[in-house]
């Protein structure tokens, strides 16, 4: 089955959504992405038992952080589907794209972070 999804969605593969870290999501927004969403397996079907549940918790944490700093929490979301459900994948991509269109561009796009790593000498 070949289906097309909105071209603005860039896919980043991870072995399991449990690999997704708070910092991955935050950095995407920090560097100007308009939105990020994680698509994990259905709850209860994770091959590693907890991966998608952990991811959901991290997504929740990032949403709280966005709220705190004054950005819309909905820029970061979690979706679940089974790997056989291509049409659902497309539906989620469209839903997210529409949602982000309504929120408008990420205001952080126009400036760059200035953070220096001070290595302990």
């Amino acid at each position: 089955m070949r289906l097309s999804y909105p071209a603005n969605v860039k896919i980043i593969l991870v072995p399991c959504t449990g690999k997704v870290d708070v910092m991955h999501l935050l950095q995407a927004i920090q560097r100007g992405a308009d939105g990020v969403y994680c698509v994990g397996c259905l709850e209860g079907t994770c091959h590693y038992n907890q991966g998608n549940l952990r991811c959901r918790e991290r997504v929740e944490r990032v949403r709280e952080i966005l709220q705190e700093i004054g950005l819309e929490p909905d820029r970061v979301r979690m979706y679940n589907l089974s790997s056989g459900e291509a049409p659902t994948f497309v539906a989620y991509a469209r839903e997210m794209t529409e949602l982000i269109r309504r929120l408008g561009p990420n205001p952080l796009k126009h400036s760059k972070p200035s953070i220096r790593l001070e290595e302990a000498a």
């Binding site: 910092m23 004054g70 001070e118």
Partner: protein, 225 residues
């Protein structure tokens, strides 16, 4: 280990409101284990501050670092050549580390990024329970290894009090009574007579800043820098 809790973001933002170049300094030991002030928490805080300040149109330059320990001079010294290039430092170490860092760089404001909450055990990832208040005179030998200073709501050395209620404390039906637990533990060990021994009151009035010198060690003439 020493446990701490990240301060609310708004509070940290307020502390550094007037600054345009700030170093976020984590500690790689206790506070890293309890997920409050290690490398990862430093990165998250830096990202939060960066975004919040850019959104307010008050961009800030940030540095991030995580020292092995902030309660040891040899690690603090790693910042000697750079600290002065920052207007302020936010430390995510425990209160001990924050103070030692502030003492090392007395001309730079050092702000606490965490609230230090005590000496605790690791019950699970992210879940810690206090067990010791470092009273300086341990009585665990007579209390079956259960600390009454920390776990009894009144910190009684000789308990229980009249408020003990079927294993729970009068302050809260969910709060176990430490002295009930002590009784049960000693009974199980056949050492119930220990509970009769009266422990003299702690001389809290002597609670001045304490120092500790281990046997076989000498105090240096003058604190080294």
């Amino acid at each position: 280990m020493i446990v701490a809790k990240r301060k609310p973001f708004e509070e940290i933002l307020q502390m550094i409101a007037g600054h345009r170049k700030v170093l976020i300094a984590g500690c790689g030991t206790c506070v890293a284990v309890c997920l409050a002030g290690g490398e990862k928490e430093v990165a998250v805080l830096a990202a939060e501050i960066d975004m919040a300040r850019r959104l307010k149109n008050q961009p800030i330059e940030l540095g991030q670092t995580t020292l092995e320990r902030q309660c040891d001079r040899e690690y603090l010294a790693q910042l000697d050549d750079r600290a002065a290039s920052y207007e302020a430092i936010v430390s995510l170490a425990c209160g001990v580390g924050i103070q030692f860092l502030a003492e090392r760089f007395p001309t730079i404001p050092v702000y606490p990024g965490v609230d230090t909450c005590g000496l605790a055990v690791n019950q699970d990832v992210g879940w810690y329970e206090e067990r010791c208040r470092s009273c300086g005179r341990c009585v665990l030998d007579r209390t079956g290894g259960i600390c009454p200073v920390t776990l009894c709501a009144k910190g009684l050395y000789n308990g229980p009090c009249g408020g003990t209620n079927r294993g729970f404390c009068e302050i809260d039906p969910e709060q176990p009574c430490a002295w009930y637990a002590i009784y049960e533990r000693l009974k199980g060990q056949g050492r119930l007579e220990r509970i009769r021994a009266i422990t003299p009151v702690q001389e809290w009035r002597d609670t001045v800043p304490r120092t500790l010198l281990q046997p076989g060690y000498r105090k240096p003439e003058k604190a080294k820098s």
